[in-house]
Structure formats: C-alpha cells, structure tokens
Amino acid sequence: MSLLNLQRDFRDWLVTGEDSAAAALGGGPGTLVYQNNYRTALVSSLAETFQRLVLWLGDEAFEAAAARYIDARPPSSWTLDAYGEDFTDFIATLWPDDPEVAEIALIDWTVGQVFVSPDAEPLAPEALAVADWETAVIRAVPSLLVLPIATNADAIWQALATGETPPGPEMAERGTALLVWRQGLEPVFRRAEAHERDVLAWSAAGQGFAAVCERLAASLGEEAAVTTAGTLLGRWLGERMIAAVG
C-alpha cells in the first residue's frame, strides 16, 4: 500500500470509527488508542476554548455536543486553537430555542481570539494631538471586535466567569452589541452605548472625525452630534481602545 493510501485509511478510521476502517490498518488495540487520542484531544481543546459554555451546559451536555461536532467537522487547521471556529454556529443548530447558549459560546470564542490578537500600544489621552480634526480618523486597537447579541449572554458569561450564580436567560433590546478588546494583555468587554457602534463602524471604514459628526448630526442634531462623538472618543481613550487618531 502506498503511503498516501495508508494515511487516507488512517484518516478514515479516525473520522468514522468504523470497524472496516480499523481493519484496513490491521486492527488490534493500537487502533483504539489512536481513536481515543484523537477524540480526547478535540474534546479537551473545545472545553478549554468554551469554558463558560461548559459551565452553562454542564459536562455531559457539552461533551455530547462536542462529540456531534467532531463527527460533523473533522479538524483541518494545524492549530487546535482554531478547531472551535465553527462551534458557535453548530451550537446554534443544537439549541435553536435557547439563543443565549450560542451567544455564550460566541463570547467564549471571541474573548479567546482577542486574547491572542496583534499587539498595539493604545493612545494615551494626554498624547492626543490632532492637527486637523476635519480629516483625522479614529483608529481602534486591532483587537477590537463588535458582537451583536440578542440575549443577556454577556451577564450570564460574566457571572459564570467569576463563579457567581448566573441570571436566567432573557432577550436583550434590539440593536444590543458588545465591544470586545484587549486592555494590555487582558481581554475585556462591555455593551456598546447608543450610537457607539455606528461611530466605530464609520471610523473603521476610514471616515474622518468631521464626517462622522456630520452623519451623527442627521439623527442627533449638530451640537449633540459633536458632543456625543467627543464623549465617546474620551471614553475610548480612557479605556485604551484607541491606537491612533490622525
């Protein structure tokens, strides 16, 4: 048998667990060791990535969901850390009537991504010196992600993370979103204020501060728009969310 065919047979055994696939490798107890190693490593990796989801679902329900995911999505990435990339969507199909479950998974996943996102020195408030506010663009730190959520998964996640009793699941107001980013080496998140998502999205698209204020003025009026944008910028600088303004 060629090496390529042997490796494909081995893959088939790991993925399917079928006796005929084991027989192609010669069978015996060794095949079972590899089968066990494969599944154990993947379940452990998912449990490490989705720690708050494990707490919310309990070990048994989590492991059952992980087993179904492993059957449906054999790993392709060279890093185990990437294996959970599709797990949130998969979880949503398993708990279609409990949207907080997939959102807890989404927060677990996003916090993990932010934890290892590219480093960037945040702009210190006292270092803010903008020559031309007409053209100046607010640039967030690269770790910043905006997560739309439909439930109070954020409150549940925080309670689980700190060992407190989590609240029961509830729907959130329409348009609720979380801002997730890294302060120094630690991931943090909070709910976005009114207009905050818009200002961040417009800035991320390259619109200057003046243009952002102008768009905001369409719904708030000119004076309130400038005040709102300025207040948000001040808050972001204090929260180490901005890498540059200029």
């Binding site: 081995f10 015996g28 490593a41 290892v116 890294r182």
Partner: protein
C-alpha cells in the same frame, strides 16, 4: 544570536510561568510547544518573550507533519519561521510522524511505515523544512501503538534519515521504552543502532500501562526502566542536553527539579565511568 543548548531543562508549562518569567527556576534551558506561540500577539507571546530573556529556548513542534505524503504546508512553515526569527531558539524540533493528510489534521502523532517510500517522503519534507527555517532541525523518535510492515526498523530509518538530510535527532528515551514494550523489540538494539553523534537533545517522561499497551501520557514521574535506559543512552552519546516533559498532572516545580537532579546524577556518573 541563538545560544547553544547545554545542561538540563524542563518543558515550560503554565503553572510554573512565574518562575520562568522571574528567572528563578533552576534549569539550564526551557522548551515550549511551538504551536502554542504561533499566534499574532498577546499574553502567551509576552510570557515567552520574558522567559526567553532568562533561558535558552528549544521550540518543539507537534504539527509540522514531516511524514505527510502530500508534503508540508506553506502557511505552517511561514508561521514557524516567524516564531523562530522572533525567539532565536537554540533548537527547533518536531516528531518523526505524520499528523495531516488532504487537509485533515488529526492533532495526534501518527505512526509511519518504515519503508523506502516513506523515507523518501520524510527526507524530502525535512529538506524543505530546513530550507524554509534556514537551520538544521531535530526530529524526535515517536512512541507508537501500531507497527506497519516495513523494510527497516525505526532506528535504521532514523539513521538513514539523518545521513540523507543532515538533520539531528531528539532522542526520547521514554518513547523508545514504550514502543519497545508495545512492539516487542529490545531497547538496547535500538540504542545501538542510533547514530549518537546526531543526537542533539534527550527527552525523558513517564507513561502508564493501558489495558493492552503502554501509553505515552507524560503525566507521571520518569519511571525506573526509563532512567535505566537513559543511563545506557548517555553512556553511548556522552553529554547531551536533557529535559523532562510533563504535560498533565503537573506537580510543583520543585518536584520536577528534583527529578531533573536524578538526570544530572546519572549523566555525571556516566561521565566518570567514561
């Protein structure tokens, strides 16, 4: 400039990060799993960078998949090179195994048949990896639970592989013991067949007895049989940088350092004996 690896080290594991960052762990070098640090940024890289200031480093990979019949992945080699350039390790190693085929990644160190075809594939992949990294690699002998029919023994395969590619060997003494018991060969024959001049590092670890086979778990102290084999290995190889791998059921750092003192003692005995 990378240092030369010497002396006795440990795998740097999370419960002991503080000691490595502060430089208080009494070891000569540290080893980390490369893939855990092949990331854009954040705390893990920051931790490794701080520890690296205090200790020479060995990067030990688990996903290169040097035995893949369909070759190596460019993105993997690029990320590993980035980490190598950033950390300037003394050693870069991976395993004689395969983990990936056709875009499927098993995340386990799977065994190769020791055939001429596999030797050609492995050597071609080693050449490519060493070129991409701009340096010599060490390849570790695996522990295994299946042995395929082949034209040569594992040690003959390793000897030919080093001859053809110029790569070095990371000799895992526990893996020799585990595979010897599982497949019924003599560990002494294995050691006698290894080109000891190519051995650049030694791993020590523990294992457990499964229902039918020894399982390489890295969750136990180094057992007597492995110490005995280590003594035989250093008698043949001379002074080789040696470390203990403990990946689960991780004890206090002091306990691991006490185990490392046993290795120091054995190596000193054998130097006197020589």
């Amino acid at each position: 400039m990378s240092e030369h690896l010497t002396g006795f080290g440990l795998g740097m594991r999370r419960p002991h990060y503080r000691s490595y960052i502060e430089g208080t762990a009494p070891v000569d070098f540290i080893e980390v799993i490369s893939e855990n640090f092949m990331i854009p940024g954040g705390k893990p890289l920051d931790t490794l960078m701080k520890a690296r200031r205090n200790y020479p480093l060995a990067l030990h990979g688990v996903s290169l998949s040097i035995g893949s019949a369909d070759g190596l992945r460019d993105d993997y080699l690029k990320e590993l090179r980035r980490l190598v350039d950033m950390m300037e390790p003394a050693v870069v190693s991976d395993h004689l195994c395969w983990t990936r085929i056709d875009g499927f990644n098993s995340h386990d160190l799977l065994p190769l048949p020791y055939t001429e075809e596999a030797l050609d594939v492995v050597c071609r992949n080693i050449d490519r990896a060493q070129e991409a990294l701009g340096r010599r690699m060490l390849l570790e002998n695996p522990s295994s639970y299946i042995a395929f029919p082949g034209a040569m023994t594992e040690w003959q395969f390793l000897a030919e592989m080093t001859k053809r590619t110029g790569c070095g060997l990371l000799l895992d003494v526990n893996n020799i013991h585990v595979s010897a018991v599982n497949h019924g060969f003599a560990a002494a024959d294995y050691l006698a067949g290894i080109p000891m001049h190519a051995v650049g590092q030694i791993h020590l670890a523990g294992h457990v007895q499964g229902e039918h086979l020894l399982i390489d778990t890295h969750d136990q102290p180094v057992p007597e049989e492995v110490w005995a084999l280590y003594r035989a290995a250093v008698a043949l190889a001379g002074p080789v940088p040696t470390m203990i791998e403990r990946d689960d059921n991780i004890p206090e750092l002091e306990e691991l350092c006490a185990e490392l003192d046993i290795a120091r003692g054995i190596a000193a005995d054998e130097r006197i004996a020589a």
